[in-house]
Amino acid sequence: MHTFFLLSAIVLTIIIAVPLVRVLKGPTVFDRLLATNAIATKTIVLICIIGYLYGRIDMFIDITLAYAILGFVGSLVIAKYVISSKVVRD
């Protein structure tokens, strides 16, 4: 079972690295924000699987909860900021 968790963590890391291309060459600022949001939501699952790899899921699960809440609040704040901002151009 440890081998399966290690393999799934490696595959998930490759999947997380794919939207970085969209972050680098996105035409508008919303594409970059969307790709960043996708990376943040997939990292939650990666932290859970890393917790099973180290055998200390009781510690990593709290880190996962805090990361999920911070990512959600950050995404909402940036979405509200981009509407009325004069600094960010398309």
């Binding site: 999947i15 794919v18 969209r22 919303f30 594409d31 969307l34 909402l76």
Partner: protein, 108 residues
């Protein structure tokens, strides 16, 4: 090999396939709105499958209950975040992508 491990492996593999589809969609589709359409739903479903598999592997303990809380929070929060981003893009004035040849064919 116990029955719990087999169910866990099946659920995690299904979830990883859904997340792979979301990543390919965010790379290949032509517009911001279609990209958000691709990544929001498939990512949410993939995360729900993977963490459900971890809940089956964990069993009924305190960590399992916290994993169920994470499932509820992701199912609420991830579509709301993507919807707020798409609505801010629409209010900012980003035009959706239309297929010009199909529109001309519909007119004539």
């Amino acid at each position: 090999m116990a029955i719990q491990n087999i169910i866990c492996i099946i659920l995690v593999v299904i979830g990883i396939v859904f997340m792979l589809m979301g990543s390919i969609g965010i790379l290949r589709l032509p517009d911001f709105y279609s990209r958000s359409h691709a990544t929001s739903k498939s990512d949410t479903l993939g995360i729900l499958f993977v963490i459900s598999g971890l809940v089956v592997y964990e069993g009924f303990t305190l960590s399992g209950i916290k994993l169920i809380l994470i499932i509820l929070f992701i199912a609420l929060a991830n579509p709301i975040g993507t919807h707020a981003l798409a609505r801010s893009a629409l209010q900012r004035g980003l035009k959706p992508f239309f297929n010009d040849s199909a529109k001309k064919g519909g007119k004539s």
